[in-house]
């Protein structure tokens, strides 16, 4: 389930701001938005621009962060003066004794700056080096102030010599890249620089390590380098406390105090200040949390909480917060890997959890191996905190269940005397069942897609989309006709078939004009102009799209054969293990059986895991999943 979000305004007199940050913002899951950005163009609200007085102290205290963290006892309260005193003294000692630390500091600062720039391009999934290698094109990364960006968008977006892509908008600048053919480079460059575009350079290496690949790769490398430097610096600090003569507890308390105060001031940057001496925080939180907060704030005289009733007028998009029960929750990992669902979408987690376990179990049905996988998965989760581990644990259980159905334990088919079906023997049944399961799954996915479109009020997509009601009707008609003719041997008049299959297809083909018809097409000015394509070209594109739709239904359904395939393959592989270890002649070699089982478990476990994922991402997600959401990032989590 995707939690309902509420947009909140938390306001009060400026002198209360610290208390509000401490009591509410640090304790509730609120994703703060920059008030100055939210209230764009409002003159009466400005951002808190006073510099953070704890910047220096906080930076200094980072030298001792690891030391402070390693203290696990109780911390006693500390005053500002004492904290300042302790940290300054310790830093002085550091300065005099360990000049090497400075080197770390400088490097860290430099890397952090590079990291900051690169992180604006995080969602670009191309290799930066490759982009620079084009023969006829130049590519320039940079930032452009908002006003310049708007001018560009209004007048130059369609310029044939510029390919422009925007990556991030931080409220002041738009971070972007443009491509231009080399002969036009000078002109385009002049144009961009007049719009106050500032190119940025990605350094080829930092501190002797090459930055390779996509921005995300570079970010990973940089974070690693920074963490490395941090830990090295921490080693120097270890024995410093003794020199300064501060107890471990006092140091930890001072560090925590400074950190709290630093983030308290940092948090102000999100707030807006009105000319009447009031501050205002704006942000998103889940409805349940908002209700709780509202109750608490009601008792508080100085502070006001306003819950927005209509999210449509809000500038920022609501973030997504997934909430699922303990069995489904691990599967959120698979969804995050693909991309977080957008706020208005149905949460695909339950569907993914159920189908994933089902498919995995069917492909890998074995009581013994399933139990081992499950145990290994849960252990991994418990000790290594691996999200993948808990998924493995759950699908392992499903595998045990199917093991009972198949009557298979570690490849021995005769220990359990009862079984429902033997994959290796009833091949046809398995294949038919997998395909039917696939058809049902595809129908469910289309149901999700229709529900999503309905939720987002995309009438055209819901009615005439290839995954909408038209697509569903088409699919059902095809299956029904096929069943009637092949299985039940009923003669259906050709006209009926043509009508049942053709009508939905026609609806898909003429989706756009039909959509206009249904929505009235009235507010002409608001609608974006459609790209006009010539008659012949347009018809060709439509026909190709239809062919693609029909083919994808066909291939996606058939694709589910792999479920039967791997179930049979599993049985086959195990019988080979049995044969090689001599179980069939009666002289069983147990070492062979154990090794064989381990080999099959590792190989097949991996393959089945991947194949199931493929079914999810390719056959299923492509039908209903939209994604493009952003997860809720609570301020209190940023702090920690």
């Amino acid at each position: 389930m995707i939690e309902k979000m509420k947009y909140i305004n938390l306001a009060g007199p400026v002198n209360e701001i610290d208390r509000v940050i401490e009591t509410y913002i640090s304790n509730y899951e609120i994703q703060l938005e920059y008030a100055a950005k939210e209230l764009y163009n409002s003159e009466n609200v400005e951002a808190f621009t006073d510099p953070n007085p704890y910047v220096r102290l906080f930076e200094d205290s980072k030298n001792f962060a690891e030391t402070a963290l390693s203290y696990s006892g109780k911390l006693y309260p500390i005053q500002k003066e004492e904290a300042e005193n302790i940290i300054t003294r310790a830093v002085d000692a550091l300065d005099t004794q360990k000049s090497e630390l400075k080197k770390f500091d400088e490097k860290r600062g430099e890397w952090a700056k590079v990291l900051d720039v690169i992180s604006h391009f995080a969602n670009m999934h191309f290799n930066i080096e490759d982009l620079a290698k084009f023969k006829n094109f130049d590519c320039v990364f940079g930032k452009i102030p908002l006003s310049g960006f708007m001018q560009f968008e209004a007048y130059l977006y369609n310029d044939a010599n510029i390919l422009f892509e925007k990556f991030d908008n931080d409220g002041e600048n738009v971070w972007c890249v443009y491509f231009t053919p080399k002969p036009f480079r000078e002109k385009v460059e002049a144009m961009f620089s007049s719009l106050h575009f500032e190119p940025v350079d990605f350094p080829a290496e930092v501190g002797g390590t090459k930055l390779l690949g996509t921005p995300e790769d570079s970010m990973f490398i940089l974070r690693g380098k920074i963490a490395n430097a941090n830990s090295k610096a921490a080693e120097y600090v270890e024995d410093l406390l003794d020199i300064v003569g501060v107890t471990h507890e006092r140091m930890a308390a001072a560090c925590r105090f400074v950190k709290d105060m630093y983030y308290c001031y940092e948090c102000r940057k999100y707030a807006g200040k009105t000319s009447y001496g009031y501050f205002m925080f704006m942000g998103w939180m889940s409805e349940t949390d908002a209700a709780k907060l509202s109750e608490e704030v009601d008792k508080d005289e100085g502070v006001v909480l306003i819950l927005e009733t209509n999210n449509d007028s809000i500038l920022s998009k609501p973030p997504t917060k997934l909430k699922n029960n303990i069995i489904f929750r691990p599967f959120e990992f698979l969804i995050r890997m693909y991309g977080v669902p957008s706020y208005g979408e149905l949460d695909p987690t339950p569907l993914v959890a159920i189908t994933y376990s089902l498919f995995f179990g069917m492909m890998f049905g074995d009581v013994g191996q399933g139990a081992v996988l499950s145990a290994a998965g849960f252990l991994l989760y418990k000790f290594k905190k691996m999200a993948l581990g808990s998924i493995l644990g759950i699908v392992g259980i499903s595998s045990v269940v199917f093991g009972f159905l198949y009557g298979s334990v570690f490849g021995f088919e005769d220990i359990l005397h009862s079984h429902i079906i033997k994959p290796a023997e009833d091949i046809m049944k398995m294949v038919m069942f997998s395909i039917s399961l696939g058809a049902v799954t595809i129908l469910v996915c289309m149901g999700y897609s229709i529900a999503n479109a309905a939720k987002k009020k995309q009438l055209g997509k819901m009615l005439f989309g290839s995954n909408g009601i038209a697509g569903m009707l088409f699919y059902i008609s095809v299956i029904a006709c096929a069943l009637a003719i092949v299985v039940f041997k009923i003669n259906i008049p050709a006209a009926v078939i043509v009508l049942a299959v053709g009508l939905p297809l026609a609806a898909i083909a003429f989706k756009e004009p039909l959509t206009e018809l249904v929505t009235g097409g009235g507010n002409g000015r608001k609608r974006k102009k459609k790209q006009k394509s010539g008659g012949g070209m347009g018809a060709f594109v439509t026909v190709m799209e239809l062919v693609e739709v029909i083919l994808s239904f066909f291939t996606n359904t058939l694709s589910f054969v792999r479920i039967a395939g791997y179930a049979i393959c599993h049985a086959g592989l195990m019988s080979v293990v049995m044969m090689l270890s001599g179980a069939e002649n009666g002289s069983t070699n147990f070492i062979g059986i154990i090794l064989g089982n381990a080999f099959v478990m590792a190989l097949e476990g991996l393959i089945v895991f991947i194949q199931t994922m493929r079914l999810q991402y390719y056959e299923m997600f492509s039908r209903y999943y939209e994604g493009g959401g952003k997860e809720l990032i609570a301020y209190k989590d940023i702090k920690n």
Partner: protein
């Protein structure tokens, strides 16, 4: 009814506009000083011209003083404005005059435009009442001090955005203009229904015309390269298609009026014909837009905007006549350089 008091006030202020005969008399003067003395007797400008005597009656000074009278009128109007939204909107609408003042000060601070200029001239009591931080701003010693003194105003953010990137004074000035129009365009949302459409029509037309005029000037008088023009266009298109403007920018020869008309295939086709200058084409179009929208809606907001527009037109006309007088043109020639709307 919400505008009743304001409407009455504006009607009264309309009586102080110069008649066609007044302009004719002014154009009959022989020198700038004589013209200046003449203007000092007009009820609309006596106040702001009070301090200008003899030697000080120079063209540039008269022009600046006339412009200051706009603040005078605005403050009078402002007292009768009721309602938060209307008030906010009118402030945004009038901001361009404040921006002009800031541009003058910016020139002063940078020492690029010294001319014959005294600070007291700007420190008119009416203007100071309108802009409390004026004297602080004038006394800025350096550009960074100037920026600091601007902080807290709505100009600070847009200026700071490009000031940090070594912008020239010209770029800073254009940024202020950009800010004015984008802010004004945004503020139209304060109104609803037919009033909003009327205001949208006025501002939209003004923005379209501004864009055309700027492109024309940049290319013709400043010979900017096409690439550098875009930085000065307002990123708003009302009825002028962005593509038309792009075509205009990429046009080589703007001398020829036919080219201008051919490029502007939209509804602004025949505004700039050979008989009139760019400015009077602009005033003519805007005047017709104002009268039509006011007749259609009867909106007090439009009425107030129209008044300020006419006042600015009048000041422009007077300035043009003084200019013509300075060059010794005949009264008939002088009158050719002004645009006087037929009917008020």
């Amino acid at each position: 009814m919400e505008y009743a008091a304001l409407n009455t006030k504006i009607h009264a202020m309309h009586s102080r506009f110069l008649s066609y005969e007044d302009f004719e008399k002014l154009s009959g003067t022989k020198s700038v000083i004589e013209a200046g003395r003449h203007i000092k007797q007009l009820p609309g400008y006596a106040g702001v011209m009070r301090n200008l005597e003899g030697e000080r009656l120079k063209r540039a000074r008269i022009e600046r003083s006339l412009n200051l009278s706009l603040f005078d009128d605005y403050m009078r109007l402002h007292k009768f404005v009721t309602g938060y939204k209307f008030c906010k909107f009118l402030e945004a609408f009038f901001m361009d005059n404040e921006i002009n003042l800031i541009k003058i000060i910016l020139g002063l601070v940078l020492g690029e435009r010294t001319e014959d200029f005294s600070q007291e001239e700007l420190l008119n009591e009416k203007v100071s009442a309108y802009m409390p931080n004026l004297s602080k701003l004038i006394n800025s010693k350096t550009i960074s001090g100037f920026m600091e003194n601007l902080s807290g105003t709505s100009y600070y953010k847009p200026l700071m955005r490009i000031y940090n990137r070594d912008a020239t004074i010209f770029q800073l000035e254009m940024q202020l203009d950009l800010f004015y129009y984008m802010n004004l365009w945004d503020k139209r949302k304060l109104f609803t229904g037919s009033e909003r459409r009327a205001i949208e029509h006025i501002i939209g037309t003004q923005i379209d015309l501004r864009n055309i005029m700027w492109v024309y000037r940049f290319k013709r008088y400043y010979s900017f390269t096409p690439e550098s023009v875009y930085a000065f266009l307002i990123p708003i298109n009302y009825r002028l298609k962005a593509q038309d403007l792009v075509n205009l920018v990429s046009q080589k020869d703007l001398e020829n009026q036919n080219v201008l008309n051919k490029v502007l295939i939209s509804r602004y086709k025949n505004i700039f014909n050979e008989a009139t200058s760019l400015e009077s084409g602009y005033y003519q179009k805007m005047e017709s837009v104002y009268s039509k929208t006011f007749n259609a809606t009867g909106s007090g907001a439009v009425f107030a905007m129209h008044y300020l527009f006419l006042k600015k037109l009048e000041i422009d006309n007077i300035t043009n006549i003084i200019e013509s007088v300075r060059y010794g043109l005949s009264p008939q020639e002088c009158m050719k350089h002004i645009y006087y709307p037929e009917k008020r």
